[in-house]
């Protein structure tokens, strides 16, 4: 008996405890401190994976959070000044590693390694953006407009980064205004954004518009946007609320502003010409403001890299859809994809990470390694995800064996842009812009949102995690039809209500409770890790 126990202990030490509901299985829920979500101690994943995590993820990323600043910042002191000046910066930058912890909890072997590379690229891109913010920020430079200020494009985060490629050879950088202060912040530290939502409502904005748009407006209300560029570009993506936000932003920015007006009915071949002209008008505005002409070569250079990244993604999707060997978990897949496509190619980080992930993936395919061996259901996540709990899918795998294979956001930018001629490039740019972001399935006719059934088939999924963004008018407007179709098609689907960045509306615990209820009462299944069923992480980042 003692020998058996010792042997089990040694095995657990070497490999980590098994992912099973049976006695002796790992119990990740027991690692959490009450309420804060901090760890009593981090997970022991076996010798190899624990030390991989410690050195190659925890240590490596801490080190790179310093070296990346040195790499991208004109003056590292600005970074510290910015941290002191902006709430979204100080409160978000430091808990980054905990964001890794939440997303990679329970991952082992190739899943741990591949998912971490996606995270790594996002951190690198974030640091670059932060440095671009601070390099030209007049608030950090005694009100002076320096060279970096004159070489920065500031645009609403829903404007695609591709638009600015033609000026990048001339040393220009693009900063999506709200991507770090709002979008990234929500994922890393969900406390920060609440200040901005409250600020927007403090000036009389009702509480019912999309909380993403409220938060975007709130950043301005709290005067928390760096003054780092001479002009601004906005656009009508992704929804009515975004358009509304632009009205407030124009007031608070008070700089030359160009509004891109992308057509909604993108299936209609007649709209493309209009969209192409609108993009060209935007480029003329940039030329007028900067005095620097449009450079097609600069555009092509980056579009080709972007296309390469797209082809990589297709390759990954092929493996994800047709095999059990795709090593990236649901949250790493979703965030990497939406972040990289929205920000565009402004560095090597996306492609480098993609190469590393592909290498891990090839190995899994060759050696037939299933990185998610406890998968019970292959899940497709549809509609827009809760930003404060994007790692719900990590929890769902650990607790119930629900493996989120793909999500709607990933599928939006699903095209290459031709670079053989200006006309072809412009045509494809028009389509790309009309499709993204958050628009490919959201506008242009409700049949697009029901492409879900095709994607379920393509990715071989047997279950739907239906995000229910309570303040998204577009998705609420088709709620009943989805209910009808789920019933008619006998599709296993659970609703996951949330309010995008605002963790106060539907708590993480409530989301877990709803999934637990579905899995027990509808699916009649037992959890793989009962310790994860119910725990209090109400105060967590």
């Amino acid at each position: 008996m003692a020998k058996k126990k010792l042997s089990k202990s040694l095995k657990d030490f070497w490999y980590g405890k098994p992912h099973t509901a049976e006695e002796g299985g790992r119990r990740l829920g027991e690692l959490y401190e009450d309420k804060t979500g901090l760890f009593k101690h981090r997970e022991w994943r076996g010798v190899k994976d624990t030390f991989y995590y410690m050195y190659m993820i925890w240590g490596y990323n801490y080190v790179h959070m310093v070296t990346d600043i040195l790499k991208y910042s004109d003056n590292p002191i600005d970074f510290f000044k910015g941290t002191w000046r902006y709430r979204w910066m100080g409160q978000t930058y430091l808990p980054v590693i905990h964001w890794f912890d939440r997303g990679l909890q329970g991952m082992r072997g190739p899943a741990l390694r591949a998912s971490a590379w996606h995270y790594r690229a996002m951190v690198s891109a974030s640091i670059q953006q932060i440095c671009n913010f601070f390099n030209g920020d007049t608030r950090l430079h005694h009100g002076k407009e320096n060279d970096a200020y004159r070489h920065t494009f500031l645009a609403k985060e829903t404007t695609c980064g591709t638009l600015f490629y033609p000026w990048m050879d001339a040393g220009y950088q693009y900063v999506p205004i709200e991507m770090i202060p709002y979008f990234v912040t929500c994922h890393v530290n969900s406390h920060t954004v609440l200040n901005y939502i409250d600020a927007a409502q403090s000036i009389g904005l009702p509480g019912d518009p999309c909380p993403m748009c409220q938060a975007e407006a709130g950043i301005y209300v709290l005067d928390d946007v760096p003054d780092c560029a001479p002009f601004v570009i906005t656009c009508n993506e992704a929804c009515d609320g975004s358009v509304g936000t632009a009205i407030l932003q124009d007031w608070f920015i008070d700089k030359p502003l160009f509004a891109m007006s992308l057509p909604m009915q993108f299936d209609d071949p007649l709209v493309r010409k209009f969209c192409m002209k609108d993009i060209e008008e935007c480029w003329k505005f940039i030329e007028e403001q900067t005095g620097v002409p449009f450079n097609f070569e600069s555009m092509v250079k980056r579009l080709e890299l972007q296309n390469k990244l797209q082809r990589d993604e297709w390759e990954k999707w092929e493996v994800a859809g047709k095999t059990d060997y795709y090593p990236v978990n649901g949250v790493a897949q979703a965030l990497f994809r939406i972040f990289s496509t929205q920000y565009g190619i402004q560095g090597d980080f996306w492609l480098e990470a993609s190469e590393k992930v592909k290498k891990i993936m090839y190995r899994c395919v060759e050696k037939k390694i299933n990185p998610f061996p406890q998968t019970r259901h292959r899940v497709i996540a549809w509609s827009c995800a809760p930003l404060y709990y994007s790692n719900w899918c990590t929890w769902a795998y650990n607790c119930w064996g629900l493996n989120t294979i793909i999500n709607m956001d990933s599928l939006m930018f699903d095209m290459e842009i031709r670079t053989d001629s200006y006309e072809h490039m412009l045509e494809d740019m028009a389509t790309y812009h009309m499709w993204a972001p958050m628009r490919r399935m959201a506008v242009g006719g409700m049949h697009h949102i029901f492409e879900l059934w095709d994607y379920m088939e393509r990715f071989n999924c047997d279950m739907v995690a239906m995000y229910d963004q309570l303040q998204c008018k577009g998705m609420q407007g088709v709620h009943g039809l989805f209910e009808d179709e789920f019933r008619k098609r006998n599709v296993k689907a659970f609703w996951l209500p949330h309010a995008l960045p605002d963790c106060r509306t539907v708590s993480r615990a409530e989301i877990r409770r709803l999934i637990n209820d579905y899995m027990t009462t509808v699916m009649h299944e037992e959890p793989l890790d009962p310790s994860l069923l119910d725990f209090d992480d109400s105060m967590t980042w």
Binding site: L38, Y62, Q91, L94, D101, I203, D254, P256, L257
Partner: protein
Amino acid sequence: MCKIGKFFLKLLGIFLAANAVLFVVFFFDLDGKLLFNVVEPFLKNHYDNMKRKDVLTMPYDTDKFPKYKYDE
């Protein structure tokens, strides 16, 4: 033992000790605990008490900017 050997042993000792400390910090989430319990409250307090510009006093001039039209 020669001096060089001692030096390398010392170096190895420092390396192992540093790794042991790092491991303790890593394994017991001491970085998270420090950030959550000390750094974030301190920074929050700082941001909450920062003097901020009242953006509602920003001008809103109808004619400040030209019409950005490039198609006529």
